[in-house]
């Protein structure tokens, strides 16, 4: 054989994709802070009640509207629930519904977009016109109408939210699929008789994972905000359950009588968590080097 010329053997120890991504993420201070905030809130809501146990089902009419004190760190509300405990309790719903709805929307959007982009032609045209039509109708409007008719529980909220907010991820994933489906490895697979399912699930989706993860993060942030809207208007989860939006709504009247502890904590919690998820999304976008938010 003619001598194999390995002149440009990669002598450099290049950082691998994964580690490079972590490093890029870590360089975005805001994203790291966001991640810390998200983790802290998850601990607060899900582990917190174990350390700071309160009764959130019964009313305590002897202890209503107490100001923050040693016994009740954030005071109590109009029916005597400990406000700090309620923040954990309501946060559970907010975070759970937000995460689940965001993920559901991402899953639906991903599949829809991948199938539309991969199939192309009239299938794509029809599927994307459905998306266009959906985007033309404000999601909040649908959400309010459906919530008003059905008065949903947590699961219902997750389904409704998931079903109204998958449109943006579907567009992102479709765009990604359009470029990926003409990659040589997909062509090669098709040329040797591989199935379309294999092309989508083994090649296209794994390679769009960065787009999908980034989209999912923003979806979760949006969903948390939407849950808060709906509950604030009294159409979300019903008492004795609550979430941060519901707490805001309940505390609104109290705000005029100076009982700030009923309105500032849930309001802050919503702002912090939503900002944190957005910051994490930004960081992930840097880390994966994905463009745009759609």
């Amino acid at each position: 054989m003619s001598a194999v010329l390995q002149t440009q053997a990669p002598t450099l120890e290049l950082a691998t994709g994964y580690r490079l991504s972590v490093r890029r993420f870590a360089r975005n201070r805001l994203a790291v802070a966001g991640l810390v905030v998200v983790v802290l809130f998850l601990l607060f809501c899900f582990v917190g009640p174990l350390l700071y146990s309160t009764d959130q089902t019964h009313t305590h009419l002897t202890q209503v509207n107490l100001a923050p004190s040693g016994a009740h760190w954030l005071g109590t509300d109009a029916v005597g629930h400990d406000e700090l405990g309620r923040l954990m309790f309501g946060g559970k719903t907010s975070l759970l519904v937000g995460l689940a709805a965001g993920l559901l929307a991402t899953v639906i959007g991903t599949l829809w977009g991948a199938v539309a982009g991969y199939a192309g032609g009239w299938v794509d045209a029809v599927m994307m016109r459905v998306v266009d039509a959906g985007i033309a109708i404000p999601a909040l409007f649908i959400l309010l109408v459906v919530s008003a008719i059905t008065t949903p529980d947590s699961l219902g909220l997750i389904l409704i939210l998931g079903l109204v907010s998958w449109l943006v991820p579907s567009r992102l994933v479709r765009a990604e699929t359009l470029t990926l489906k003409s990659r040589d490895y997909v062509l090669t697979l098709r040329a040797i008789g591989g199935t379309h399912g294999r092309a989508i699930f083994r090649h296209i989706l794994p390679n769009s994972v960065s787009t999908i993860v980034v989209a999912a993060t923003f979806q979760v942030a949006d969903a948390i905000l939407l849950v808060a809207y709906v509950s604030y208007l009294g159409l979300g989860v019903q008492p004795p359950s609550t979430d941060w939006g519901g707490m805001l709504s309940a505390g609104l009247t109290a705000a005029y009588s100076g009982r700030w502890w009923l309105i500032v904590p849930p309001g802050l919690a919503i702002i912090l968590v939503v900002c944190a998820f957005n910051a994490v999304g930004d960081g992930l976008r840097d880390a994966f080097d994905v463009r745009g938010r759609g």
Binding site: M1, S2, A3, V4, L5, Q6, T7, Q8, A9, P10, L12, E13, L14, A15, T16, G17, L20, R23, R24, R183, D184, Y185, L187, T188, L189, R190, A191, I192, G193, G194, T195, R198, R202, H203, P206, N207, V209
Partner: protein, 585 residues
């Protein structure tokens, strides 16, 4: 005027990247005299383009340069931006590889050239416009007055490169830096652009720094050559000296790996001359390799009754609909017999890749029929179609896009097994993958690596392993080595040839590189604008072509031998003049 127009002394360039400092150029010294062309050659990653950028003061922000580089006596390293701006476009200018991106798509070409003129000379808008027209005329754009108001997208690739050159010479620079100026162009256009550059340099005494990987271009154009390897210049000298009597080991190996087109000169009796020229200079003439294909042909002859592996019959393909549809293929018929290698050659847009994709069932023909192994591909559905396609292996051009970066090498290679042998036990599959990897001469340890960790040549061999894992009867290779450096290309071609001799699959080999096809294929089909122009046995067709087009195509291929190339050039230009042809891109 006798002073060097470009002088580089002990130049070093280091890039700081996310994964650490990368030295790209080390201790490079060279010079260009007025009116002289220095070719800077080397393989990818050798640092040749970085040297060119440093000479323009155009290094990116993460680069640190040391040493000295001066253009016409002005130091460019560490020079203030204002000083460099005065220099660029006036004293030194650049021609880039990709003419499509070097021009502003939204500005008329006349205005783009005029802008360059006015940047450096205090002339009125009208004078600048008229000198733009003059420049267009000088670079051989027909009907320059009208063409000046055209947008870049209205021009062909060759014409765009002429416009880029017009901009580069607008202020009669003393130094022209051309970074792979013809790499994105077809060979016939390449020959014209090289003719143009040569004439311009000779007329105006401009010094040229030519950056290229193509030894044929070097032989055609350069006066002196500097060979770069891993950021250092390993050999410098006059072009005859370096290309015909290379002294450095690397240059010798590089030249040995360049596939050479064996040609019969138009003057006749060229065969012995060529053999002497090639044999005298290269340690191992390319001819030795082209012989390797011969035994296979005899093996094939034993089974004449067998159905052809691929048969396209009057296939037409249209992209798009209505009157604006592009006719990619028109009534193309070709046949590939068992065990045979068929080279499909042509310039870009000739339809050679489309034809290969039709054979693979990736593109549906508008009319005509395609059969694989004697069965019509168009009618086969479901299981039958899959069974048919199980006999096909595919290697495509792009080593990066060919492998899914999210899979390991072993998973990539095992994919056809997962598609067609679903019941295969994991252990057996692993064994098969290991066996095939060994076949393509890749170390077994690579199996668990990701494609990112592999070099381009290794990746193409992984693609080849994937194509061969099912023991196909047909291998479709679409420009399998075009993205690789010549030395790596040779290894990959050797592996394919060896395995073909051993396993006896038929090969449909698509390439724009006539020299590679000549060494690799027994029969060749020349395509042009969606039609088959000519076909026949490779040896006959490529040495004694029957059609004018093929003849022009072959004449335009530069050979890496300056003496021979000069002869070919005069012959080609004489033929062009005799034909009274337009001859312009």
């Amino acid at each position: 005027m006798s002073a060097n127009i470009l002088e580089i002394e002990n130049l070093g360039v280091t890039f700081s990247t996310e994964s650490g400092d990368v030295p790209a150029v080390r201790g490079v010294s060279l010079h260009v005299r007025p009116g002289e062309t220095l070719a800077l050659v080397g393989e990818s990653g050798s640092g040749k383009s970085t040297v060119a950028l440093a000479a323009m003061g155009l290094l990116p922000g993460n680069a640190r340069a040391s040493g000295r580089a001066s253009v016409d006596g002005t130091d460019v390293i560490g020079a203030a931006e204002a000083e460099l701006t005065g220099l660029r476009g006036r004293t030194v200018s650049m021609v880039f590889q990709e003419p499509a991106t070097a021009l502003d798509p939204l500005t008329r070409i006349g205005a783009q050239i005029a802008e360059v003129v006015r940047n450096h000379r205090p002339v009125s808008a009208r004078d600048a416009a008229s000198s733009a027209v003059e420049l267009l005329d000088r670079v051989g754009i027909p009907d320059p007055e009208r063409r000046a108001s055209a947008y870049p997208f209205q021009l062909s690739g060759g014409q765009r490169q002429r416009v880029v050159i017009a901009m580069a010479i607008a202020n009669a620079p003393g130094l022209l830096i051309a970074d792979e100026p013809t790499t994105a162009l077809d060979v016939t256009v390449q020959a014209e652009i090289l003719d143009l550059l040569r004439a311009l340099a000779a007329d105006s005494g401009t010094g040229v720094l030519l950056v290229t990987h193509n030894m044929g271009v070097v032989a055609d154009f350069a006066d002196r050559v500097a060979v770069m390897l891993e950021g250092e210049v390993v050999e410098t000298g006059p072009v005859e000296e370096v290309l015909l009597r290379p002294s450095h080991e690397y240059t010798k190996r590089l030249l040995g790996a360049v596939p050479r087109l064996a040609v019969a000169g138009a003057g006749g009796g060229a065969e012995p001359r060529l053999a002497a020229a090639a044999g005298g200079t290269v340690p191992q003439p390319a001819d030795a390799k082209s012989r390797r294909g011969v035994p296979e042909t005899t093996a094939v002859a034993g089974a004449p009754a067998e159905a052809p592996v691929v048969e396209l019959h009057d296939v037409s393909v249209r992209f798009g609909r209505g009157p604006r549809a592009v006719r990619a293929l028109q009534d193309v018929s070709l046949t590939l017999r068992a065990g045979e290698t068929l080279g499909l050659v042509g310039e870009s847009g000739s339809g050679k890749s489309t034809a290969a994709r039709v054979a693979l069932g990736l593109v549906q023909p508008a009319s005509g029929s395609v059969s694989l192994f004697g069965t019509g591909l168009g009618r086969a559905r479901g299981r039958k179609r899959r069974a048919l396609l199980a006999g096909v292996g595919v290697v495509l051009q792009d080593p990066v896009a060919s492998l899914d970066a999210r899979m390991s090498v072993a998973e990539c290679v095992a994919e056809p097994l997962r598609v067609h042998r679903r019941g295969m036990p994991a252990a057996e599959r692993r064994a098969r993958v290991a066996e095939v990897l060994e076949r393509v001469r890749l170390p077994r340890e690579l199996a668990n690596r990701g494609p990112r960790e592999l070099s381009g040549g290794q990746r193409q061999r992984v693609s080849l392993a994937r194509a061969l894992v099912l023991d196909p009867r047909l291998l479709v290779a679409d420009e399998p080595t075009s993205a690789l450096d010549v030395s790596v290309q040779q290894t990959v071609l050797d592996v394919i040839a060896e395995l073909q001799a051993e396993l006896g699959f038929a090969c449909l080999f698509v390439s724009h590189d006539l020299a590679v096809v000549q060494q690799f294929a027994q029969r060749v089909v020349v395509m042009r604008a969606g039609r088959v122009e000519e076909e026949g046995a490779t040896a006959a067709t490529l040495t004694h072509p029957e059609t004018d087009y093929t003849r022009r195509l072959i004449a335009a291929v530069p050979v890496p031998d300056p003496v021979l190339q000069r002869l070919r050039r005069t012959e080609r230009q004489a033929a062009l003049a005799a034909a009274g042809t337009e001859g312009r891109a």
